[in-house]
Assembly symmetry: C2
């Protein structure tokens, strides 16, 4: 069935000779599907956050800092953001009073990034929106399928090199 569609390069004789087919070639590539689904997820997230004036990277940073203060390196790494690109993100969040750079105890090179009270409040409301976006995106999958997907992705990610 897949082999049957061949090259189809010679153009025939009828009208509508080209019907847009499902791109089997790409659909068989898990890597490409991942990139596609990731872009889609990012797009939806960006749209959902736009109202609050935040972008996906801001959201990610706030989410992680929820668990406690971190130096910028340790914040950048799990976000998949390069430390130098994180600088303006932190700047913006600090400018809005959602977090603070503080001195790191025994190492004056580092800054300890800490959520402010206002940052925690903002996060709470923005989180609800994030959950809505996620529910929408994952709607085609059943609960158990969503769980399976999450497990697979978690096993996939830790290996990701910088």
């Amino acid at each position: 069935m897949l082999a049957a569609m061949g090259q189809a390069e010679a153009q025939g004789d009828k009208e509508e000779l080209i019907t847009p087919r499902v791109p089997e070639a790409l659909m068989d590539s898990t890597g490409f599907l991942l990139a596609l689904a990731g872009a889609e997820s990012r797009r939806r997230w960006a749209r959902g956050l736009a109202r609050s004036g935040l972008r996906p990277a801001h959201y990610g940073a706030l989410m992680i800092l929820q668990q406690g203060p971190l130096p910028q390196q340790d914040l950048a790494q799990p976000l998949g953001i390069d430390p130098r690109n994180l600088v303006p993100i932190i700047d913006q969040l600090e400018g809005r009073g959602l977090l603070r750079r503080q001195p790191y105890p025994n190492d004056r090179r580092r800054h300890l990034v800490t959520l402010t009270r206002r940052g925690r409040e903002t996060l709470r409301s923005v989180r609800r929106e994030g959950e809505r976006v996620e529910r929408d995106m994952l709607a085609p999958l059943s609960e158990s399928e969503q769980a399976a997907l999450r497990v697979l992705l978690r096993r996939l990610l830790p290996t990701a090199p910088r």
Copy 2:
């Protein structure tokens, strides 16, 4: 266990009081995991293709056109690329002689994009590299897990709105 880590905002007394923890909050969000894994996949693809002077979008376009000529709209859609952003991609590929714009039979607005012989040859070699990248990226998963992931992603994607 999760609740036990609390806010940890007050700084204590010992050295190394902050240990970079796994970001549980984000790891529970399938949407964010998707975006992360997608970005990683894209990054690896970009690196692997760099030698041939191609980028992920080029690769995707060539892969799809393998199945036969298409008008630009029908090429853009499955790639998740906006038609206007596809224009320069097609330009570049055409400039390298990997494909051609041709007249579309009964509708002079459209261009039928067709792989050239050289395009097919290039694709063959680039494909091998792509498969290597994918193998690397998916290495943490077993064969059957990779298949499961592919199935889930395929079910997830068709709904994706533009």
